[in-house]
Symmetry: C2
Subunit: 146 residues, 2 copies
DNA sequence: TTATAACATTAGAATATCTGAATATGATTA
DNA sequence: TAATCATATTCAGATATTCTAATGTTATAA
């Protein structure tokens, strides 16, 4: 078992995330998380045209999210980065907690930040003073924003 | 401090990932991870036109990745889901490990999977037999695929 | 009162992405 | 040899995203 690692530029990181940001590709990853599958199986599970599945698989393969080995005439795809699938699965539970700090908390954060910030670093508001009390804007709620 | 949580459909999950999959938005998140910033500061840090930054901020806000409070005439944006930023930052280290199992390992996985699989679940190759030895395809390497 | 600062909003062109249809390939099987 | 299976590739239209430029808004400063 060979393991490699690498850090990513913002650009590469972004293109990876956007690659993952497609329901069919996420579904493929979910499927493969339970074990290797050949293309035809995946296609039937997802009820998508074969060509389409193949395209998504190729896209995933280009970023080495998945890989395959050949078994006779079957191509058995598997997750080349299982850790990624695990992170993705855990993302809703671990990453989506919404925080709404009190203005005072945020202000304290900002003060702490100013204190720790090097002289050449830009500050919040570039030194402008806080006047009045921080306020929350009116906030019409939408489906995903709660 | 208010905390909420929710699970997501594939679709929502995908659209969130794709929202994150943009270098400027990732950069914004990186910046905000160090503390709240007003729009002008972010704009200067990223060296992007103000309107563009504003648009990205709105997109992030629509999914409640960021939020803001008002401080005088400044809008101080901050991360509404700090856990997400942390996960994103850790993704390269934790998620990008590439695995290349030996064919035997994968085969063993598949067998174990078959063993654990309920009767109605589709199997790899739908019961087709493994003939010969699993092989690795020839693999021309590209930038991101290593 | 006019100007300016800090941001938002809109419109439209430029790009990128997605999908399905058609076709190709290469290995088996009849 | 012809047919079939498993999968890949190509291409064109549809759709979605992103960027720029121009303009709007609101509060404060001159």
């Amino acid at each position: 078992m060979i393991i490699e690692m690498r850090s990513l530029t913002l650009r590469d990181h972004a293109s990876l995330l956007r690659l993952l940001g497609h329901p069919v590709r996420l579904a493929i990853i979910q499927r493969l998380a339970t074990g290797p599958r050949c293309v035809t199986d995946i296609q039937e599970l997802l009820e998508k045209p074969q060509a389409n599945v193949s395209q998504h698989l190729m896209a995933l393969r280009a970023h080495r999210i998945v890989d395959y080995y050949e078994d006779g005439k079957l191509r058995c795809y598997y997750l080349a980065r299982p850790g990624l699938a695990k992170l993705l699965a855990g993302l809703p539970a671990n990453g989506y907690a919404v925080v709404r700090p009190s203005p005072e908390q945020v202000r304290r954060d900002a003060r702490r930040l100013r204190g720790e910030t090097a002289a050449d670093m830009p500050r919040n508001g570039r030194g402008r003073q806080w006047r009045g009390r921080p306020r929350w804007p009116a906030r019409p709620a939408t489906a995903l924003s709660r």
